[in-house]
Every structure is written in C-alpha cells, then in structure tokens.
Symmetry: D2
Subunit: 165 residues, 4 copies
Amino acid sequence: MSLEPIRILVTGGTFDKEYNELTGELFFQHTHAPDMLKLGRCELEVEIETLMMIDSLQMTAANREMILERCLAAPERRIVITHGTDTMEQTAGVLGPRVEDKTIVLTGAMVPYTFGSSDGMFNLGTALAFVQTLPAGVYVAMNGRYFGWDSVKKNRELGVFESRD
Amino acid sequence: MSLEPIRILVTGGTFDKEYNELTGELFFQHTHAPDMLKLGRCELEVEIETLMMIDSLQMTAANREMILERCLAAPERRIVITHGTDTMEQTAGVLGPRVEDKTIVLTGAMVPYTFGSSDGMFNLGTALAFVQTLPAGVYVAMNGRYFGWDSVKKNRELGVFESRD
Amino acid sequence: MSLEPIRILVTGGTFDKEYNELTGELFFQHTHAPDMLKLGRCELEVEIETLMMIDSLQMTAANREMILERCLAAPERRIVITHGTDTMEQTAGVLGPRVEDKTIVLTGAMVPYTFGSSDGMFNLGTALAFVQTLPAGVYVAMNGRYFGWDSVKKNRELGVFESRD
Amino acid sequence: MSLEPIRILVTGGTFDKEYNELTGELFFQHTHAPDMLKLGRCELEVEIETLMMIDSLQMTAANREMILERCLAAPERRIVITHGTDTMEQTAGVLGPRVEDKTIVLTGAMVPYTFGSSDGMFNLGTALAFVQTLPAGVYVAMNGRYFGWDSVKKNRELGVFESRD
C-alpha cells in the first residue's frame, strides 16, 4: 500500500526496438516506457530515465558500471531496469554484489512492444509489482517469475529464464 | 524464487468482454486468461478455473459466497481472481475477513483484452507478481498498485483505484 | 493512374465507435479516417469531411438528404462515405437515383477500428480503390466486393452484404 | 457486381515477415493472406497459392519466370501477387509485356502484417478491388494508388511508390 517512488532506468533491448520500414531493419528510436505506463493506467509515482538505447549484446563493462552508478546515485530505493534479455544476467551479476539497500528488478521482452505479440506489458507489470514487494536485492523478472541475480540464466533454445542451481 | 502453484479464478468482467459484430454489443464468450499467459510467456505453474462469466454489476451475494468457497477449497495458497472493476471492492470485502492462510489478489481491466488498448496484460502481470510476494491476505491489484481489501475504493470519475482512508 | 481528388464524407457507424472505459459503453469521439489513411501510407489526394457521427440506426431522412446535398455540392467527382452497416443500403437508395456524374462508394465496418480485429482498414482500402475505378454511380463496398445501390442488402444473420436479385 | 474468381499468388516480401523471438531476426514462416482475408470478412472467391517465400531483393530472373508461368497457367483471369516492395517494379516489368488477357495486380507492405502498424490490410484491400475493376494489364497497387507496370518506381527515400514519367 506504500507508494514509494520508483525509478525506471532504460537501457534499450528488444523491449524498445522498432521496425524501420525504409530499411527493413530493427532500430532504436526512443523508449516506449511512458506509453506502456499509460496503457497500463499506471498510477505509481515513476520517474523514467534513459541511460542508453542499445542491444544488450553490445553492452560493455563500462555500460554496466554506468548502470550501477546510476542505481547507487538514484534517490529512489526501488528501481526497475529495462534491458535486453541476452545479457540481463551479466548486468544483474555486476549489480548484485554491490547494491545493498535497494530493490532492483531487471526486465525485458522477447518481442518488441510495438509489435503485436509482445510480452512487454506483462513483464513491465510483473517488474513494477516485484520492485514494490521484494526485499532489498537485485532480481530478474521474466516469464512471470522473479530470480535472484546469482541464480538466473536465460535458456536460449527455449527463450525462457530459468533458475541456475 | 519459489514456484508455488497459483490458481486463477475467472469471474468475467471487462477483462473478458468481447464485441459481438452482429449485434454491436459486448458479451462474454470464454476467458482470455490462457491466451494472455501465453502472450506473457508465463512459466508459472497456473491452474485456470472459470467460476462465472458476468459483469460485476450483476454479481450477487450468492456469487460472492461461491467465490469465497472456491478460494477456501482450492489446494493452492496463492490465488488470483479476475473480476469486473465496478464491484471488485465488495468481493474483496467478502473474502477479506474470512480468508486466513492464503494470498488472494483480485484484478481486472478497464478495457477488454481483445480491444487494442487494454490494461489487461499489465494488470495480470502485476497480480501474478503480487500474489507470489505478498503475505497472506486479500488484495486488489490495479493501476500498478496493490491495496488491502479494507482500504480500497474505485474512483468512478477517474476510473482508477485509490486508498480509502 | 489518375490522381483525381477524393472526398471522404464521415457519418459515423461502427467504423468510428470507441470504448468508453468509464461507462463500459461504445460512443463516438472523432473520426479515425485520418489515422487509417496514415496507417495505409495512403498517398491519394483525400479531403475528409465529418457530416455527422451517429449510429446508422439513428439516421433520419433529413440526415440522408444532407448527405445527398453534400455529395452534389462537393467539388470532387469521387466520394467515399463511411457509414454504419445497418442502414447503408437505405442511404445508398437515397443517393442512387439522384446522383449522376459522380462515383460514390459507401463503406463501413463490422468491428470498430480501434478494436484489434476490425475489418475497417481492409474496407477503406477497397472503397478507395473502387471509387477510383468504377464508372459514375452509387455503390456499397463491403466484404471485398462492390454492389450497385439497387442490388445490395445486408444479411443480418451472417453479418455480410449480398446481392439482392 | 461480378464475382469472378481471383487467385492470390504469394511470393513473400515484408508482408509475410515475422519476428523470430529467439534470434531477434525477421524470417518467413507461412503466408498470412488467409488470416487477412478472414479479418477483412472477405467474401470473394479467392484461391491462395504460395509460389515462394522470399525477400524480393533475393528474387532471381528464374523466380520471375516462374511467377509469369503461374500467371499464364492459372485458370483465373484476375490475379493478385503479394511481393516485396524493393523489386516489385522489376517483376511487374517481366509480366507486363507478356500477359494479355488478364488483370494482374502486385501489392505488398512496408511493415509486416504481424506487427501492429502494418499497411498490409489496406493494401490487400486496394489490390483486391483494383483487380476486379481494372482492364486487362499488369499493375502495382501501393499507397492507395494503382500504377501501370511500365510507369511505376519505388522512391526509396520516402518509402512510397510514384509514377515514372
């Protein structure tokens, strides 16, 4: 019932990819997070901040440090990070050991939001709910589930996230 | 990280309304919950059970007793109820004082899932996340927020749920 | 290959209905014809004029006279009329005997454009194509077909338009 | 008012591309033409035949000969060809001089049908209307317009089709 403010840090990923009809290629323009919150009739106090707009396969160690810095510097104690699914567990692995008092939830999508069949709205809903209710720590929210940062891996054959034991 | 089984009890509501192109009216056919879980690439262990398919303005005290009975009888300790938004707080009010060891989350939608601009996927995502993480009790999940059963009301002018103080 | 200017006269109908999420009812706000032309990447010279925004079951004889007058007064020789499907044949019947030198095509939709499963884009495409290629006369374009104004009826059981012999 | 049978020859193109959520790439699976006709509530007598499923940039002279052969061999006198937009004018140029008694309309889409913002439904509507009403010849239908096979070119900067003078 709390209404603690939440920050959404946008890093790109499939979530925000769009189709360029002139080239037939996927590209990044701007984040759809505001549209998605509006579609979800979201009444949470949310601040959206775009850190980068990249495919997570292109994400460098420096990018991950920058994400970490923004998490630590943000005034909010509850942070959702939108992220490409391919290296979400790596970024979670960078944040996990170094974030203490905050609840941070990484999420993404298997299909771009602007395409018809995206899991983006569902995932964003779960991430915003988990970030309000889970204790301090770094998590990945995908497939309706949440995973601790040190126990998650993406199954690339199936395109789903699993516990790593 | 637990994967406790979840039951979704379907009662109808805007969530599941469809457009009848022969009459131009809205009607109920069957629940879209399975399609929605598939679209969300949901990997939770979910059992879907349709109790009724009605507009919540039509819901009777007997209907609410039936919902309560099914909640108590269900083997799962975590239950999501899809419900029309107009009387969601009444049903929550029937369940709240009589459910003890279970986490029950009611959710719904302002726009039918089959229409383009529905909040259904977002709300279902939040409900499934809240039901995994909130302590035993009865809650309403709408607008990205959760509310205890005894402190929620729908603001009909704005179409949003608010805390009742 | 001609690019004669085309006028679209908007009268309402299912085409332009929207869902009011506060009341759960369908209503008219403004026409979606401009959005639809944009989505279709339409490069025709089109002028859109809203005459009324009503369910065609509400359409009066005076409304139909007004539509006729606008057709006769319009500078364009090619006119598309968006119209509710329930009385499309009546309006066509008013226009048919009194329009001489113009090609007029009435079209509509079985499902609102703003809902996911609308036939609106397809129907608007056919109407704009028929209006460019058919000889002077009044026609109904539905279900991919065109019908002369005096030989069309809506089959209300099936929701399709048929030839009336 | 005729209901002459129509054949749709499918060759692929953006029209039928889909998003592979495991690889993040676009690919071909099967044609969406049947779904699109159903969505359009199309009541024409249509036969759909898939000739190939390729990006039109990959289309060879042999592919074009095969399309020509199928056009000539088909029992129908009215044929729609779905085709990638990048080389639509080349294929039209192969068919144009060698088809006599048939009306053939090539169409395509700038955005895949399965993505939300496709022009596919609109274009298919125009193509099916033009093919019923234009005299024998080979045409391209895009952007709501039709072009003779020997007077059309795609403006790649704007992503629209224009007359070539």
